[in-house]
């Protein structure tokens, strides 16, 4: 047995999802009965209750149903299995710098950086494996883990190891693999039987053979099998890079659930989807800015809910607040047979270092309430004002979508331009501006304004200041106004202007 050159090989954590197509089929069901995954009319995988009743992988469906009358069958769908594996890889990106998707049922994580946080490499690598398995469980998957130097040895340990997590220390892979059966090497057809015929029945026996002999007998595959048996697999990881935003769906047709008829179970299902989407998004360091929930209705039609979030977030609990609001207010015209939650917009979520005095819970409370309001009123209702350099009073500011400021943004920081705009001294501006100026009637004596009639009521003029001339925009919509601040008896201070174009007086605001 030749030890592998451990220093050259990457440390790899392999996660294997046994019977992945069956696991995927079971994820959509709340009760696990007698179920088989079939390819054509052949059973590929079946559940333990189905096995207990006599069904076996490899049986024809007729044979399996003869043994197990209540056997439900779902077709093998490799494309969906691959998509599920990619989705899990996306979530695992939160644990490792690189993840490779190894079809049909494995994910390979770069474990080289596991020890950076301190502790021995054994503790760090085992801890990484346990976290990865816990994440799998949280997403409804059951896995096994193997850690070794090189992809092949790690996969073999995960698939055939005696425990849920099996680790081979650097330089110890050959020893760890030695007791595994030859099938662990996934040799080309015929090779395993020919080796067995000469007494080579486990990986350890194969590793003791000279590679030249195997190469002479079986060609390059033979030499490669010996290298792998010795724990040598120098292939680098091929990192997975997701190209689209995550999306999770749940097709209830064919499951024992059937359809959902009210908001409460829909919300329960949405929570499940939200958890999955959020975990995938978090793995990529992204947060959703906009989500879309599509409810497929029975027998046809769909309801679509678009949801804007106050700030990009990968926190499913935060999404659920507005989702609950929207779904709760929904009048479903028909039962729901399928749900799909997709991320429409996403952005990087920068990590923020907390310092003394920060109140992240307040920021979270703000995000939650903004998301609730946006869901009910639309995000066009949640506004922050920004000054604009215009003389026309009603154009001297802009209302833009309210953004949650950074945790460490000091009050006043980041404001643009002159806060009062270009319309003169802001202290002379009213606190209320009418959407549409209202004509007023003026009465006077000896050239002096004495009474203003507002909405038919006469109010004596107590004091008057002005005029302040505001004019401009001759190139588009010219205006020419003389503004006065007028104190009216029984009312208070109002802002009126005489329009230079028609000579009339208009009430434009209140100094309330």
């Amino acid at each position: 047995m030749r030890p592998e050159p451990a220093e050259r090989l990457p440390r790899v954590l392999a996660l294997v999802l046994p019977e992945l197509p069956l696991q995927r089929a079971l994820r959509a069901r709340s009760a696990h009965g007698q179920l088989a995954v079939v390819e054509g009319d052949r059973v590929v995988h079946c559940t333990a209750p189905a096995r207990a009743a006599g069904a076996r992988p490899g049986d024809s469906l007729v044979q399996a149903r003869a043994a197990c009358a209540d056997l439900a069958a779902v077709p093998l769908e490799p494309a969906k299995d691959r998509a599920a594996l990619r989705a899990l890889a996306e979530a695992l990106l939160s644990l490792a710098p690189a993840v490779e998707v190894a079809f049909p049922d494995s994910l390979l994580l770069d474990a080289s950086a596991a020890g950076i946080g301190g502790g021995t490499s054994e503790e760090a690598e085992t801890g990484l494996a346990e976290r990865a398995l816990a994440l799998c469980r949280s997403l409804g998957w059951r896995g096994r883990a193997g850690i070794a130097s090189g992809k092949g040895p790690a996969q073999m340990l995960a698939r055939h190891g005696a425990q849920e997590v099996v680790r081979a220390a650097p330089g110890e892979a050959a020893r760890a693999l030695a007791r595994l059966p030859l099938t662990a090497l996934q040799l080309p057809s015929g090779m395993e039987a020919r080796l067995a015929a000469v007494g080579v029945t486990d990986v350890g026996a194969l590793s003791r053979l000279p590679p030249e002999t195997l190469a002479h007998r079986f060609g390059p595959a033979g030499a490669q099998a010996v290298r792998l048996a010795c724990g040598e697999d120098p292939r680098p990881l091929v990192p997975f890079a997701p190209e689209t935003f995550p999306e999770e769906s749940w097709d209830l047709e064919g499951t024992e659930v059937g359809v959902l008829e009210s908001a409460e179970p829909v919300l329960f299902a949405v929570k499940r989807l939200a958890d999955r989407v959020a975990t995938r998004l978090a793995g990529r360091g992204l947060g959703a800015g906009r989500l879309r929930l599509t409810l497929g209705l029975y027998p046809r039609g769909e309801e679509r809910l678009d949801l804007s979030l106050a700030r990009p977030s990968a926190d499913a609990a935060l999404w659920l607040v507005p989702l609950r609001e929207r779904v709760g207010n929904l009048r479903l015209p028909a039962p729901v047979r399928e749900l799909k939650l997709s991320v429409v917009e996403a952005a990087e979520v920068p990590a923020e270092q907390l310092v003394a005095g920060d109140r992240p819970e307040a920021t979270r409370a703000l995000e939650v309430v903004l998301s609730r309001l946006a869901a009910r009123l639309g995000d066009v209702s949640l506004l922050a004002a920004r000054a604009v350099d215009r003389h026309r009073p009603e154009a001297a500011y802009q209302l833009a979508r309210f953004e949650v400021p950074s945790l460490h943004r000091a009050p006043g920081e980041g404001e643009e331009g002159d806060p009062g705009g270009g319309a003169g001294p802001v202290s002379l501006r009213p606190t209320r501006l009418l959407r549409l100026p209202r004509p007023v009637v003026a009465e006077g004596e000896g050239g002096r304004l004495t009474v203003l009639r507002l909405d038919g009521c006469a109010h004596g003029v107590v004091a008057l200041a002005g005029p302040e001339r505001l004019a401009g925009e001759w190139w588009s919509q010219p205006f020419d106004r003389d503004y006065y601040r007028v104190r009216l008896e029984g009312v208070g201070d109002v802002w009126v202007y005489r329009d230079g174009r028609d000579g009339r007086l208009y009430l434009h605001g209140y100094f309330d």
Binding site: G119, L377, S381, L383, A384, A387, T431, G492, G509
Partner: protein, 221 residues
């Protein structure tokens, strides 16, 4: 058990305890200064009570909006957020900025045209009141000004919504300032200030102070 595992466990425990401490925004207590010393002197406790609703009642140019904006500025001074539910769509932000408000930390809520359109003024008002309730209960704001006309809302519904506003303020700990006309129904509130802008500077009159420090009346100008 290795040192790293122990360290991880300690960190997990600390995180759990911090989470327990932080799971709800801190409930504010005390009072919010009004930004006008003569008004503070009139108010029981020296400011608008947190976790309660104060009605600022007056005509269209009585100075109630300016008083509310000054209080929102005071709330921002402590680093908190403030909100203004602009149900009438009349708030003029340049004036708020001139009073010292940080516009980036002032949330202005204006119900969309759909909520106010179609002659359904009641729905518009209810949307604004619902938003105010959500903001007050959230605990994310130190002060919330509510400028929503109650005129289109049937009296019973208005009373119910005002009671909900009070409960939301109690829950979230924010100082709620409800701007209203003299004939609007009163919130079951701690305070009611009547403002009159007919004089040189707005006159303020405390008419009711049941929860914050006993019944009382007083004037400031």
């Amino acid at each position: 058990m290795g040192a790293a595992s122990r360290q991880r466990e300690v960190l997990e425990e600390l995180r759990r305890q911090i989470h327990l401490l932080e799971r709800k925004p801190a409930r504010r207590a005390g009072v919010l200064p009004s930004g006008r010393p003569e008004v503070d002197a009139l108010l029981p406790g020296g400011g608008f009570p947190c976790g309660s609703v104060t009605d600022l009642v007056g005509g269209p140019a009585s100075g109630k909006t300016e008083l509310a904006l000054r209080a929102l500025r005071e709330a921002q001074e402590s680093g908190a957020f403030a909100a203004y539910v602009d149900g009438r769509g009349e708030l003029y932000p340049p004036a708020a900025v001139a009073l010292g408000i940080d516009p980036a930390r002032l949330l202005i809520v204006r119900p969309p045209a759909g909520e106010r359109g179609g002659g359904e003024a009641c729905r518009e008002a209810m949307g604004g009141l619902w938003a105010a309730e959500a903001l007050l209960a959230s605990g994310a704001f130190a002060a919330v000004a509510v400028d929503v006309s109650l005129r289109p809302v049937p009296p019973r519904r208005a009373e119910a919504m005002l009671r909900r506003l009070r409960s939301a303020a109690e829950k979230g700990g924010a100082a709620a300032l409800r701007l209203g006309a003299p004939r609007d129904p009163s919130t079951p509130a701690a305070l009611r200030l009547e403002l009159s802008g007919a004089e040189r500077s707005p006159a303020v009159r405390l008419v009711r102070g049941s929860a914050a420090g006993g019944e009382g009346e007083g004037d400031a100008a």
